[in-house]
Subunit: 351 residues, 4 copies
């Protein structure tokens, strides 16, 4: 008896985020990896050989034997998860969308597009409505939906309930980002042993811009939220899990206890719909003075939660806290998958 | 022929900062380590054996044979550098000051005292005048002078020229601090391999309070500067060198180029007096996009400079930058030594 | 309805190995943690507060509320897993054994005892017979069984099938050990950032002696195997997973392919009995040129396997390979649990 | 007045070893960097810009302004230090030698050549005689001299005095190598955070083969020494400094104390000739139980010594120890420079 699951393609399947897609989809109740697509070097080889699998000891069994397809090959699956490198994403993702595929993309290329939803299901599920305009504007039978940058997504998950409860004006954030965010080989070890690199190309711009789109509105066009974000992004010797020190100026006064309560009670569409990949608690609040820590907290709620700690008064902005989120689970592959789950339940998938 | 150098005692000589004192004083033109003082466990043993020397392969030859004295022993040297643990510093430092010694202390105990100078020679050399009041108030023939916390000192070195040139209102800072700041054994490796700890006890308070004293005035009493600092302090897997992401609201508008110019031209009393440990450039400005980095930049100007990079506009505060400073050189032992050099030239030492 | 599981006590429950016991027992089919016992500092507090839980984000729910008992308190559970510090283990373990408890100990104290089994169920299950002598000699109603040092156990797991197939004469081994082996706080981060420490106290002696007992025979007394082991033990900046470079002189010639075949087909009593914690493959052989690696391979078979790679000719000894094993799973807590499972199936537990 | 120093070219000047050449030559009494040569990407730019300088904060001033030459450009300097990548070294080094240059090469390409000296000045200075044959055989007016692999050189420095004093039969060695040995970008940080990689391509073969040539004789041809070496090479998260665990079977019995005495008294030609880069003690022996350590000991004797510790009996081979050596100082650039110094004093340079 054939599987009733929806077949999906993973684009850029051999890279770091591609591998995470395959890991997170391994026993997914709705989706099943049917095609793995990667660059020329890998094409025609079984995934087991083509991927230098680095998430744990062994490649998931079922995917291991799939033969890697070329970017130019016909994709059969109605759904495509994209972890494509930026330089090829534009052409490929647009072609697939034109041809009727739902493209759920983790790549930055289309994120700020005027008719492309940039979504976090807990934050702006109604932005899905933009795909109508997108299909119409572009004459596509499919569509592209994107999820945010790995640092932006966790920060915005915590900003959304603050915006709702108190209003949101200004955010100063400094990140301490894990090396897996740069893929493999990515950051050289000579840059990370006994060192910090206080710069990640384009990362600060992404955090500043994507936040405004994510917290904005869709009214036959995206209205950016006026919140102002000032970001400093650094790389630290951590494998997985971005840490962010955040100070927030709210629209109205709130104590750390108020904020903790708002974080703890936050629930979005994925929680209401009980989506398979939805964390029960999208924001986990820790009371210990020295948490969150990447090594201890990054897998909270299967890597799909943002973990907040050190919630306290900021003498300048009102409130500040430290947050941590897994950058390749909720911060990348998991974000795309959660978007796909929302789209399925909302009846927006072409299946 | 006996040395003409001023004999000095190092208190807490076997610890991390104590070792750095001994290393930095190894070929000092004015001072010579004559006494090493440490806790009971070390007393009576040659320094070579008592200290688990961790700065490089070998203990400096001359100090290696000094026999470690007890805290209760008579100190002969007119000058004492203190790297004492907080819990014993109060009694010992006060006793020595009472008995006529100049105590140059890196310990936090007396930093915020109402008649105790907290000094950075480039920033507030005139605070030295407080020792007159101190001696009079307390009936001491000696005195205590302190230097700031290792994170505060580098930040304030960069804030001072901004205050002078543009005025200074608010500072948001996130630190990424090295493990040597916690001494030895200090931070467990299980906390630092593949991890960040987003908390350092009392560190944020020190940065917030000490900055106001350092940038304030002495008018027969310390007048705190009204600058408001909001700090988040984290520990990262780096041996030496604190990195700090700083956003500054100035009193009047200034471009990053203006600020760079002010940093580059900054000179203080130590530079004018050409003190032996004074960095030629107290602030080194780097133009590369990915600097400063601890491993590359921490020893700039023999570890006595603050290295600034990533100078750019902050959409909220006006200007932001990343700074790096060696936390046990200029951030601790070197700071005390530079204070001592200033006091010597100013004729304030009891010799 | 009360649980039918056998209640167990964990001694030294708040330490690194104690935590691993609790984690591995969380959903064990036969055993259930009923008592947690630790040093004075923790006594009377719920485990959640007493343990600085460091294995992941949260303490297992059921154990979290157990109140920590004192070492001198009455232990009710028939089974006690011991992760006691060496200095207290002797008195406490002997008292419990005397009083009728089965003590499964990971502590080194009793390992080399003349009537104390030192066991790996795949290697020397028949050494369990020593407990008869032990009980008789000592007049105990219970008994003590130990498992080996975390480096020895993985090496011996790979030596056993070689001994059986080819005979075994000499072994030269160099270890690269993880920091979790030293507990928490354990190894200072200043020793492990950009560094290696080529010494671990008593570790080499343990590897050399325990191997002879493990591979020896019980004939109303332990006959040590004459194999000669020469070990060099080092500490490297890895959280979990000991890597070991092993060269072996066999009794008769064998090619790397022969050895690989012997490793791959190795099955012991735990596999035959299908014990709950038994790895399906006690030895996992990897063919890739650059494996095993701690970060990728340490959790193979739930941390209960020894992973072997780089199997090749040694120009001096005949064959050499690199092995990797999880040092707190199979290397400590998991080893005790597997011993307990064997004892239960063999009818040797006092329940 | 022009410099009287011998102008030298550095080939492969922008890489890791190239940078170390430039750093070590910065204030060399005899040699002066006059030409920097690198791959196409760098050609025509000032060295300051072409090199991503990573040894400390700033490029040495004098070299910073040199314009990078192409491999095909005319080299003026009589002496060329080569840190060329293997794939281009053969053609370039041979061309320069043919044209009359003395090529001092750190590249592996020519090391095992039948008429190419592979030299450590303390070990086999007489191998320099091979250049006569080399020039004659090949019709070159210049010549090529090589230095060993970074792991082999330190091991052989310690084996030579053992060979002389006791005879040498077998060596088992496991290395824990630093990442700088792989250049920049080199080893990815995802391979080195919380990890060990137990494989370095061709490294074990080099240690096994080069040792035999280094300890062999030149009799109008190289006679390899029959010593058998069995090596396992691993990569660990250390920036600089290779650690090696060595077990040695000597020709005649010797106690650890005998060996320590032989190590401590070892002096070679460089020490006798007082060559500028020669370490006073080519082998530094440490008595502490936990030394040598890379972070503390790698710069001993300016990175030109091999540091030995943990000297003790080996139950199989007789004696074992741990050694540490700086892999890019004495292990690469410093080795070539010391060879050049020897050749100059011996009158073998074409100047």
């Amino acid at each position: 008896m054939p599987s009733k699951k929806i077949p999906v393609a993973v684009l850029g399947a051999t890279g770091s985020v591609g591998q995470r897609f395959i890991q997170l989809l391994e026993s997914h109740p709705w989706f099943e990896v049917a095609e793995v697509v990667a660059s020329e070097r890998s094409v025609g080889r079984p995934y087991r050989e083509a991927a230098d699998w680095r998430l744990d000891a062994f490649v998931p069994e079922r995917v291991a034997e799939l033969v890697v397809k070329d970017y130019s090959d016909q994709i059969e699956s109605p759904l495509a998860f994209s972890a494509l490198p930026g330089e090829v994403a534009e052409e490929i993702e647009q072609r697939l969308a034109r041809d009727g595929h739902a493209v759920l993309s983790n790549t930055s290329t289309h994120r700020m597009g005027a008719d492309i939803p940039l979504m976090i299901p807990e934050v702006n599920p109604d932005h899905a409505r933009a795909i109508e305009a997108q299909k119409k504007n572009r004459g596509w039978s499919g569509f592209i939906v994107t999820n945010p940058n790995c640092s932006a997504i966790h920060m915005v998950l915590t900003l959304k309930p603050l915006q709702d409860a108190f209003g949101l004006e200004q955010v100063v954030v400094t990140t301490l980002q894990a090396v897996s965010g740069a893929g493999y080989p990515g950051v050289p070890s000579l840059d990370m042993i006994d060192n910090v690199v206080p710069f990640i190309s384009s990362e600060e711009e992404k955090m500043e811009e994507e936040t405004q789109k994510l917290l904005g509105k869709w009214n036959d066009g995206f209205e950016l939220d006026p919140v102002v974000v000032s970001a400093t992004c650094t790389r630290v010797p951590v494998r997985d899990g971005h840490t962010e020190a955040v100070s927030v100026k709210l629209g109205q006064a709130a104590t750390p206890a108020d904020v903790a309560e708002v974080f703890r009670s936050f629930q979005g569409r994925p929680q209401i719909l009980e989506l398979p990949s939805a964390p029960k608690r999208p924001i986990v609040v820790r009371d210990e003075p020295n948490r969150p820590q990447p090594n201890l907290d990054r897998n909270s709620e299967n890597g799909m939660a943002s973990v907040v700690g050190r919630l306290r008064e900021c003498p300048i902005f009102g409130v500040k806290y430290v947050l941590l989120g897994h950058n390749t689970s909720r911060g990348a592959a998991g974000a795309s998958i959660l978007n796909a789950e929302l789209f399925k339940v909302e009846g927006l998938l072409p299946v």
